[in-house]
């Protein structure tokens, strides 16, 4: 009996989602029955803000984790330098747009050196070139060795961190410029345009990647590599060059995520900023299933909603926000050891 249930759970991940939604609805309805009207009004506002901000946070996380899952899906490389490329994007964007005096506190400023869009494009191109170089010099000689890849790429992350430390200093006293100033009111919540822009960008990249992988010739070749590397090589696909291209795409996605997220949150760019996004992208990617783009998108929204729910419903444990996200990941893995959509890119159409 239990085996049959387990088999069904393994083949149909949607069942878990439906059960979870039903459980949440049941809990909510019992609460609704026993609560006072004032409580209900407060809860409604909270639910509204959780819905909006969770959606936006999920979009940002999806943008963050897409590159990570793409490079794993195509060439089975767990790329720990993803966080470093995220940081590189943010720092280069910041260095191109803002001229600063050391130690000066900048809150809002006009772009001084370059147009913001031009700076974005330049930073992304630089990150893509950097990703290709990293692939060629470091990852390619040790392909297939999981442990060596992990250690070498985390080493790259540390090198980037120290270079940024030398070049820009340890303190996060500067901020990345805002793309679109101002905010808009949606359902009584004031949301900044920047956040919406990053959400839209993540949607665009998700759909674009999907179409690229299913329609374009290079995308099809990438899926062929994911399916069987040697046979793809026999079919005349230049696997090395394509893996390098994949790494470049992943790196540029990381850089876009770095620029958009840091500018949307008005966050400081500081040398240790690459750890947190790296962990979050792990949690997301594992939750969704390594190498599955659909799963990554799903995982991003689950983690985003969980984090925002913790911040709004229990503000006193906001320190435990990361722990909650990672705990959800561990719980999901206990039920499904390969994530919700534990498939690889080749299987998705």
């Amino acid at each position: 009996m239990t085996q049959r249930i387990r088999k069904k759970l393994a083949t149909r991940p949607v069942i878990i989602l439906i059960v979870a939604i039903v459980a949440i609805l049941a809990a909510a309805s019992t609460w609704w029955y026993y609560s006072t009207p004032a409580d209900r009004a407060l809860a409604l506002t909270k639910i509204r803000s959780i819905t909006i901000f969770g959606l936006l946070a999920g979009g940002a996380y999806a943008l963050l984790a897409l590159g990570f899952t793409l490079i794993y899906g195509v060439s089975e490389v767990v790329n720990m330098a993803h966080g470093a490329l995220y940081m590189l994007g943010a720092y280069v964007f910041f260095a191109l747009t803002v001229s600063f005096a050391p130690g000066e506190m900048l809150v809002r400023f006009e772009p001084v050196l370059l147009d913001l869009r031009l700076a974005l494009i330049l930073a992304v191109i630089l990150a893509a070139i950097m990703g290709a170089i990293i692939y060629r010099l470091v990852i390619h000689p040790i392909m297939g060795d999981l442990l060596a890849t992990l250690v070498a790429t985390i080493g790259i992350g540390i090198i980037f961190q120290e270079i940024m430390l030398i070049q820009f200093g340890a303190h996060g006293t500067r901020r990345v410029a805002a793309f679109v100033p101002g905010s808009i009111t949606i359902l009584g919540e004031s949301v900044e345009w920047n956040t919406i822009l990053s959400f839209a960008l993540s949607l665009v990249f998700f759909i674009g990647l999907w179409i690229f992988l299913s329609k374009a010739k290079i995308g099809k070749a990438m899926r062929a590599i994911a399916q069987d590397r040697e046979v793809a090589m026999l079919m005349g696909i230049n696997t090395e060059r394509l893996c390098m291209l994949t790494m470049a795409i992943a790196a540029s996605l990381a850089a876009v995520a770095g620029i958009m997220i840091t500018s949307a949150r008005h966050a400081y760019a500081y040398p240790y900023m690459w750890y947190a996004p790296l962990y979050m992208s792990f949690a997301i990617v594992i939750l969704g299933g390594l190498g599955s783009i659909k799963g990554t998108f799903m995982g991003a929204f689950i983690i985003g909603y969980a984090e925002i729910a913790v911040t709004f419903m229990a503000p006193e444990v906001v320190f435990l926000k990361d722990a909650v996200a990672l705990g959800i990941m561990v719980l999901v893995l206990l039920i499904r050891p390969k994530g919700i959509f534990g498939k690889r890119i080749e299987m998705e159409e």
Binding site: L146, L147, A152, G155, I163, Y279, F282, L326, L334, G339
Partner: protein, 378 residues
């Protein structure tokens, strides 16, 4: 020139590396035991104590990953849990050190078993990334219970033998960690080469096949977690009593950098050989904490590099260290432990071949002489 180096290397290999490994290990241990006779400065003693601790830590990681193949990237979890447990026992219950360290180790083992259960289900990169997250969860828990754990402030622990003078304390640290290293190194090596170790290697090679052979895979995986957790947490518990308290930081207890340091040391030493990580810990920790700084200082004092680099020395130090690691991983993936054993095997084979060749040459000569004899007689 190259031939000269080759001859030097060959004579070195023939005369120094040729002693039995057990004798070599005990000789090195005796040298380390006698080293404080030369009255080294405090910093060197401290560096050597840290090297001892890191050697135990990396060797315990090696037993888990090199033998069973359970890819554990969060080994700092055991280290940090034991460190915090001993520190909190010392702070709140005023227990003696000789009680708190075993208690901390016990808690470390139980944590290892607790996380071992969920880790049985996941494999490969999933396991690696899941184990990486456990210390992170613990870090945010430590930060949350600020009143008890002090948050990011370290908990300062009493040192071993607080009555001694400064140098005596450091000497006591050195000898205690060296004794711990000796005992745990021998135990780990014996376990790795016993029947249990062979079973663990079979799980690493092919889990399904070893299951089919009637091996209880679950039991051995959990055992590997428990043993590895025991020695990892012993290292952590000793480390808290060496001057720096338990704290949450990037580089110290519970940090990702600590887990990765163990992995780097084990890879450099050769994954799966217990003695490799122990040797590599000495090389890398001394290079990391003492050697690189000296090298930079020498270059700067001879005006070979600008003195401004000294100001950013810690950054340059990290960059150099990681570059060395990356190059070593790419160019020399088998590690020094396996490299040495390979060379020794080559040497033995060469000697056997040589002897066989001598034997063949002798018989050939004898036969030739006999035939010549016969021909001359006839």
């Amino acid at each position: 020139m190259a031939t000269y180096f080759r001859r030097v290397y060959l004579s070195f290999a023939e005369h120094v590396l040729d002693v039995p490994p057990r004798l070599l290990a005990s000789m090195i241990f005796l040298i380390l035991l006698a080293y404080p006779i030369t009255k080294p400065p405090l910093t060197i003693l401290y560096v050597l104590s840290v090297a001892n601790i890191m050697a135990i830590f990396a060797a315990s990681w090696d037993l888990l990953v090199g033998r069973t193949g359970q890819m554990n990237l969060g080994h700092a979890l055991f280290f940090g849990t034991a460190a915090y447990a001993t520190a909190l026992f010392c702070k709140f219950f005023n227990l003696q050190l000789w009680v708190t360290i075993p208690l901390g180790a016990l808690i470390g083992v139980s944590v290892a078993l607790i996380i071992g259960f969920p880790c049985l289900r996941v494999k490969g990169p999933y396991l690696a990334l899941v184990t990486l997250t456990f210390p992170l969860i613990l870090i945010s828990v430590v930060k949350y219970f600020r009143e008890i754990t002090g948050g990011e402030e370290p908990i300062i622990n009493p040192r071993f033998f607080p009555g001694l003078p400064m140098y005596g304390k450091q000497l006591a640290d050195y000898y205690l960690t060296l004794a711990l290293l000796f005992v745990s190194g021998v135990i780990l090596y014996k376990i790795a080469n016993s029947r249990m170790g062979i079973v663990m290697v079979s799980i690493l090679d092919n889990e399904l096949a070893s299951k089919a052979c009637g091996i209880n895979v679950t039991k051995y995986k959990l055992l590997a977690f428990a043993i590895s957790g025991l020695f990892g947490s012993l290292a952590g518990a000793f480390m808290t009593h060496m001057g720096s308290g338990a704290s949450v930081n990037y580089n110290t207890y519970l940090g990702v950098a600590l887990s990765f340091q163990a992995i780097i040391i084990a890879i450099f030493g050769g994954v799966g050989t217990i003695y490799g990580p122990i040797a590599a810990a000495y090389i890398l920790v001394i290079l990391d904490m003492y050697g690189l700084g000296k090298i930079f200082g020498w270059f700067a004092s001879n005006n070979l590099i600008p003195a401004s680099i000294i100001q950013i020395e810690s950054s340059m130090h990290w960059i150099m260290y990681t570059l060395v690691i990356i190059i070593l991983i790419i160019k020399w993936p088998r590690g020094i432990g396996r490299f040495t054993t390979d060379k020794l095997k080559d040497l033995q084979e060469a000697r056997e071949l040589e002897e066989r060749g001598k034997h063949i040459w002798k018989t050939y000569k004898r036969k030739k002489e006999e035939s010549e004899h016969a021909s001359t007689r006839s």
